[in-house]
């Protein structure tokens, strides 16, 4: 769907919940490991037995602080916990320990880039809270009992609330991809939407001109979106639906008509769950079982220093330090820091960052994906790749033969030099010799020459064929093509 031609302006704010990569839960020592048998990762604290007390996991707080700093947020020097009260069987205490009016961090931003350009999406706040368990309802329709699994109850979550600064499906995607990359890179969360370690709720409405006034439709909070693509689709669906709905009922946004809806992915539509005004009154109040958290200068400084280079900084550096195009920088950084390290070592050893970037993005990634390898166990180390690239440059080896050499580099322990020699690619072609071969080809192929001149570009292959054949397929094709074009011009 084209955003620019829509008859409305889309307004989206995203609430992102990420599970923090701690070994234990937020307020007890139970493991956060995913996929254990139901209710085996529980203790009296996370199942809410009487008389036990929560103890804050400092690592969780530190991960939250790292994420908040990476999102350019202010860190509250004094922060407290609050209870959010509501009854549900997956919430064993019937209150969730969260943060209400003094979140650990506030007012930051995330910079995103789409085809429409670069923009800053404001972050209202990022705060910590404990996760609930999971309900498993009987779906047989025979009214059997519902089951509760409390393994997830008490897992630390960071809730990141954006301003409604997002105005297209592309931006939704860019925002979520950037958050995911950022949080993975700084080791805060693995952000697996399938496992629920990244969850998204989207607040959506649209603005447009109607009879001389700007109108805004009622906000819909869309839940149950289980992939980035689903968020994008849900937001676009909801925008059009709201626009159409307005033309039926003429209802505009007011402080009480926000509704919650569920995204039904296989039907590609939303379904309204409840009106917000009927929603629970959470009766927030300060959690008396926990002390406040004070963040001093030293702690804040340690946290800042632990961040390392952020994806946005790395992209910036690749533009400056390696003069890479923005596209290359984006693609490389998206692969994570281990891959980026590999690229940088290769680029430095070859002395040609663009060549290294091309090879990393294409041949290296393709082989890794084909063979299910990760960069850390990829046997073509950056040193070996670099020595191959140096030889490719030196002998001006064409792509097809270069790939052959690369595959051998992966499959054997031979050095790049040995492989190039074995493949007979250690030949330097004299341009004058190639020019002679080109002239010979032109002279013997009058029809192809005429076709090329008539605008049939493909015919040039017929003229290159004899040259490649003469050189046993080793001649650098780019050079041959270039000479061929020069000769055809002057012919």
């Amino acid at each position: 769907m084209s955003q620019t031609t829509a008859p409305y302006r889309l307004v989206v704010g995203l609430e992102v919940h990420v599970q923090l990569l701690t070994k234990s839960k937020l307020f007890c020592g139970c493991t956060t490991q995913f996929g254990l048998p139901p209710n085996t990762a529980t203790c009296p604290i996370c199942i809410g037995m009487p008389g036990v007390l929560p103890v804050m996991n400092r690592t969780a707080f530190e991960l939250g602080m790292k994420a908040a700093l990476a999102l350019n947020c202010n860190i509250a020097r004094h922060t407290k916990w609050d209870r959010k009260n509501y009854y549900y069987p997956d919430l064993p205490k019937n209150y969730q320990i969260s943060q209400y009016d003094q979140p650990m961090s506030y007012e930051g931003y995330l910079e995103i880039t789409t085809e429409a350009g670069t923009k800053k999406v404001g972050i209202i706040r990022a705060h910590l809270e404990e996760d609930a368990g999971k309900m498993m309802h009987d779906e047989s329709g025979r009214g059997k009992e519902s089951m509760v699994d409390l393994n997830r109850a008490g897992t630390p979550l960071l809730e990141i609330v954006s301003h409604p600064h997002i105005s297209s499906g592309d931006e939704v995607k860019a925002y979520l991809e950037e958050i995911r990359l950022l949080l993975r890179e700084i080791g805060v969360s693995d952000c697996e939407m399938q496992e629920g370690s990244l969850r998204v709720d989207a607040n959506v409405n649209v603005n447009f001109e109607h009879e001389g006034n700007t109108v805004a439709t009622p906000i819909v909070e869309v839940k149950n979106v289980n992939s980035i693509r689903a968020v994008e689709r849900a937001v676009q669906y909801e925008a059009q639906r709201q626009f159409d709905q307005f033309h039926v009922d003429h209802i505009v946004m007011n402080p009480t008509n926000k509704v919650t809806a569920k995204w039904i992915d296989d039907q590609g539509r939303t379904e309204v769950l409840r009106r917000k005004e009927e929603a629970a009154d959470y009766r927030y109040f300060p959690e008396p079982d926990l002390v406040t958290v004070e963040v001093d200068d030293a702690w804040l400084e340690r946290s800042k220093n632990s961040l390392g280079e952020l994806p946005s900084q790395k992209r910036e550096r690749y533009l400056k330090e390696y003069q890479l195009p923005a596209y290359d920088a984006k693609q490389l950084v998206l692969q994570g820091h281990a891959f980026c390290d590999y690229f940088e070592q290769t680029a430095k050893a070859v002395g040609d960052a663009k060549l290294a970037s091309n090879w990393c993005q294409n041949q290296v990634m393709q082989l890794m994906n084909d063979r299910g390898l990760e960069i850390k166990d990829f046997s073509v180390t950056s040193d070996r790749l670099a020595s191959l690239l140096v030889l490719i440059k030196k002998y001006n080896i064409n792509m097809a033969r270069s790939k052959d050499a690369f595959v051998q580099l992966l499959e054997t322990n031979d050095t790049a030099e040995a492989i190039i020699k074995k493949l007979g690619l250690d030949v330097t072609f004299d341009p004058a010799m190639l020019r002679d071969l080109v002239k010979k080809s032109i002279a013997g192929n009058a029809k192809a020459v005429a076709d090329v001149k008539a605008g049939k570009g493909k015919a040039i292959d017929a003229l290159m064929g004899p040259v490649m054949k003469e050189t046993k397929g080793k001649a650098p094709m780019d050079l041959v093509r270039q000479i061929l074009q020069e000769e055809l011009q002057s012919a």
Partner: protein, 486 residues
Amino acid sequence: MELHQRTVSELLNEMERGALSAVELARSFLNTVKAHDGRVKAFLNVNEESILAQAQAVDAKRQRGEKLGRLAGIPVALKDNLCLKGEVTTCASKILERFKPPYTAHVVERLQQEDAILFGKCNLDEFAMGSSTENSAYQITSNPWNSEYTSGGSSGGSAAAVAASMAPLALGSDTGGSIRQPAGFCGIVGMKPTYGRVSRYGLVAFASSLDQIGPLSHDIRDTALLLEVIAGHDPRDTTSVNRPVPKYTASLDDPITGLTIGVPNEFFQKGLDPEVEQTVRTALKVYESCGAKLKPVSLPNTEYAVSVYYIVATAEASSNLARYDGVHYGHRAKQFDSMIHMYSRSRGQGFGNEVQRRIMLGTYALSSGYYDAYYKKALQVRRLIKNDFDAAFSQCDVVMGPVTPTAAFKIGEKSSDPLSMYLSDIYTISCNLAGIVGMSMNCGMTKSGLPIGLQILGKEFDEEKVLRTGRMFEKETGWHLKRPTL
């Protein structure tokens, strides 16, 4: 004095010199329970087998010449809101009728480490909500001095057990006076330590920001000894303060020279029974005769304490008690139509009237639209009450007054009038709101033979001074030696 009427210090001496075994002592207390608890109804559960086994283990340890703990062989009764692994912990509620916690409260572990004998679970007002122990779902505890009267509450079972010499020591919990008021009614010593002095881990919460566990005993030395054992930091309760525990028993007999006692006018106003006032003023004169100086101080926000308390405590309670929903443990209604119905039925059947009343009060106070007018305002006034005490303690060492406006009231007298029941805590509540130390001790008897309590308040972590001050009175008077005739 009979064996079971003696103080812990005396009993420890007897056992140390070999004149008494832990089993003999335990049997003596078990016999007293058998003889009198049918009438007093202080205990919900006394497991004779377990008690004798514990006592035998202590005797065996002594015979082997092993080092023994500070409470070796001494029975300690526990309020039944303190968790003991594998033993039913009811909070005197139907909703936890069969609940067996898989963990032990920090204070109970401390008792075990000091070789004390865990001597049964005591009755209380359901979830510690009440001032008479009439709100128990199981039984009403009567006052050992006169069985027509209440024992006070909510730690009425603990206080009555000690007063009736059915246990030499007990632990209670105090959220608005629940140790000091029953101690006063029963004529014994009871202390609410500073908030954070004792870990709350394993205490079933009523109001987390006010609850504190404390000792009950015949005399101050025994309270000091029990406090020494239970106080101190516990990493499982982050509100417990990491600060060294003084050896309270060591300094106990050193009188405080130049003691200044603050006497708040607000504690001697209308509503105070003249007999109680006279007795407390007589106690103050005793201090004067020991060289202490009395100084009028003002606690101007005292009049708001009860209102503030019934907002803060009920708000926290409404949330703390939300977990009793019949889903994971505790009472679940047998019949229901839906999830919401299961919640409401289970809770409606499991909780008594007073608990339901407080849950509703607290839920209301926290509701959207009322929060600012009630809960937030209450927190602001709570701060003012704390400021009053800070100002008072800048002029005096301790503050003294009555524990309650009257001596023990009759069973049934106030049970249909919650407000008059709430007002019986008027002098004890502000101590919890301010988080300071409060102790109650016997300072005389009414003409009808009921004990009258003297309350000594001290600033945060000033337990040592409060205990020494109390001990000065004991030495002069001897009220702590009185025991009821059962």
